[in-house]
């Protein structure tokens, strides 16, 4: 069905593909990297959008999962390159698919623990407790000298994907692009499923949900864990993009940035995170070239969005959300 929103989504998806292809053809790899950054940030925000947009869970601690994904990539590849076994004598790997699985599982387990406690609260307490847990992970990473501590950990050679030379910017972009589209598809499937309907219903009214026999806590915990796993996948890709992972990926600025991306793009919208990430990176690039204080202007724009265009960029382009 080609509704206005679907058209906008299609255009966004195609733009993100065509722009780096064109830049590559014109010999401008810098723009390919910029597009890769958009795709990865969009993926991270897409993960958060599951919890925030569908479940109404304002997690201010998703940087923890983003960073765990990043450290999974960094730690696995450093062990593989140094041939030093890790815990339990397991060896590292430079294969992206394995790294992704490890990243998602590690973040999922941490999210299960964090969510099991945080989801007993709601509203501002939930925001604060997720922030507190993320800060614990942050300080843990800073004080862990084995993997660089405060200085972070370099990934000497970008991890590999079977059949591709990931050192080529365009190849790595395509990997990220396909992962993003697949995750958007997963989001759409979840939103249309019984679980997705229950997650959204729990956001709208907890009592009513209970009277139809749904346990809001369990539904939310599942949503929170899936959300964290997607964000961790983005973290692993982000580490590979920069070939570097540091505690800054875990900092609360990162959590805030992910929320900003969602608000800019449109909360709960399928392509909201992508629209938000594109806008954010474009601002960062355009305004950042003009002034060092570009975040001041981003703040003004965010203020404008919250006050005058609450549906975000997608709300402006595609009309009010069907799901709100």
């Amino acid at each position: 069905m080609l509704t206005r929103e679907n058209t906008v989504n299609l255009v966004l998806a195609l733009l993100l593909l065509v722009a780096p292809l064109a830049a590559n053809a014109l010999g401008q790899p810098f723009y390919v990297t910029l597009a890769t950054r958009i795709a990865i940030l969009a993926l991270a925000a897409l993960g958060l959008n599951l919890a925030l947009g569908l479940g109404g869970l304002v997690s201010f601690g998703h940087a923890a999962f983003f960073g765990i994904g990043g450290y999974a990539a960094g730690i696995l590849s450093s062990h593989a390159l140094s041939y030093e076994p890790m815990m339990f004598g397991l060896s590292g790997t430079v294969q992206m698919p394995i790294i992704w699985i490890v990243a998602a599982i590690a973040a999922g387990l941490v999210a299960l623990a964090i969510g099991a406690i945080s989801l007993r609260t709601s509203g501002v307490y939930f925001i604060m407790i997720t922030l507190a847990f993320a800060q614990m992970v942050y300080y843990f990473a800073i004080s862990w000298p084995a993997y660089g501590g405060e200085d972070g950990l370099s990934i000497l050679v970008r991890n590999q994907f079977p059949g591709l030379n990931t050192m080529k910017p365009l190849s790595f972009f395509l990997v990220c692009y396909v992962v993003l589209l697949a995750s958007i598809g997963l989001f759409a499937l979840i939103r249309a499923s019984r679980f997705g309907a229950a997650l959204q219903a729990a956001r709208q009214n907890e009592t009513r949900v209970a009277t139809v026999g749904i346990h809001p806590y369990r539904i939310r915990l599942t949503g929170f864990v899936i959300s964290a796993m997607v964000t961790a996948l983005a973290g692993a890709l982000y580490a590979d993009l920069n070939r570097f992972v540091s505690p800054s990926m875990l900092s609360w600025h990162m959590s805030g940035e992910l929320i900003v991306l969602i608000i800019l793009g449109g909360t709960g919208r399928l392509f909201g995170p992508l629209a938000g990430a594109a806008l954010y990176v474009a601002f960062e690039f355009a305004l950042g070239g003009l002034t060092e204080r570009w975040q001041f202007f981003l703040g003004l724009i965010l203020l404008g969005v919250v006050l005058f265009a609450r549906g975000g960029l997608l709300g402006l382009l595609a009309g009010k959300a069907k799901h709100g």
Partner: protein, 227 residues
């Protein structure tokens, strides 16, 4: 016996709303819960669903005591509530409202759509954009999707156009014919009494009269239900 409400008292904070309500519902029975406004009908229903747990007394549903169960567990035992004021999930579509509630059993999407064909016509529409009557059908359909053993209808026809009321009453009669147990609160006695097997009348938070619906005389109506 399906539901056994044993002398419950329920409080809103410090103020007492129920002072001793007791009644029973058997399998396949339709029971009308009656009384003037503010006499405790809705509080009784919230107590049964454990949304407002009784302070004393107990409630057995299918032999299980509900006092320690969270509301969602009471619902899973088979209590299907259609709350007062046709409360759907406003930002979900008709289809999503129904699917979110689904539990295994004989009631499926097809069966609900057959009962309320309007819901099928509007399956993709946001429930907040439905008319009042359609929202009520959706609220009933959603409760049926949980495959309840007892359906509770709290003022299901209140504030609806006469034609729509007829649709709802027709559906209630059909559900009764299928053998579903129903607890119903409604002000339209001319429709309520023919469909109910028994009536329970509340006054000031107490169950003061019980009997078959044929025995609700004009005198009783005057005494307990008249304005």
């Amino acid at each position: 016996m399906l539901l056994d409400v044993q002398d419950i008292t329920t409080y809103y904070g410090a103020s007492q709303a129920l002072f001793g309500v007791e009644f029973r519902i058997d399998e396949g029975e339709v029971v009308a819960l009656m009384g003037r406004n503010g006499m405790g009908k809705s509080t009784t229903i919230k107590s049964i669903c454990n949304l407002m747990p009784p302070k004393t007394g107990r409630i057995l549903f299918g032999g299980n005591a509900t006092e320690r169960l969270a509301p969602y567990k009471v619902a899973r035992l088979g209590v299907g509530l259609v709350p007062e004021g046709r409360r759907c999930f406003p930002n979900l579509s008709v289809h999503e409202n129904l699917v979110a509630a689904a539990r295994p059993g004989s009631w499926t999407l097809d069966k609900v759509n057959a009962l309320f064909p309007r819901l099928e016509e509007r399956h993709a529409q946001m429930s907040k954009s439905l008319s009042g009557g359609e929202q009520q059908m959706l609220a009933i359909g959603r409760a049926l999707m949980t495959n309840p053993r007892l359906l509770i209808l709290d003022e299901a026809t209140e504030g609806l156009a006469p034609v729509i009321r007829q649709d709802i009453w027709r559906a209630i009669r059909q559900l009764k014919a299928e053998g579903l147990s129903i607890l119903v609160v409604d002000k339209t006695l001319s429709e309520l009494l023919p469909v109910a097997d028994r009536c329970v009348i509340l006054e000031n938070g107490r169950s003061v009269w019980q009997g078959s619906s044929g025995d609700v005389s004009a005198d009783i109506q005057d005494r307990y239900l008249g304005v």
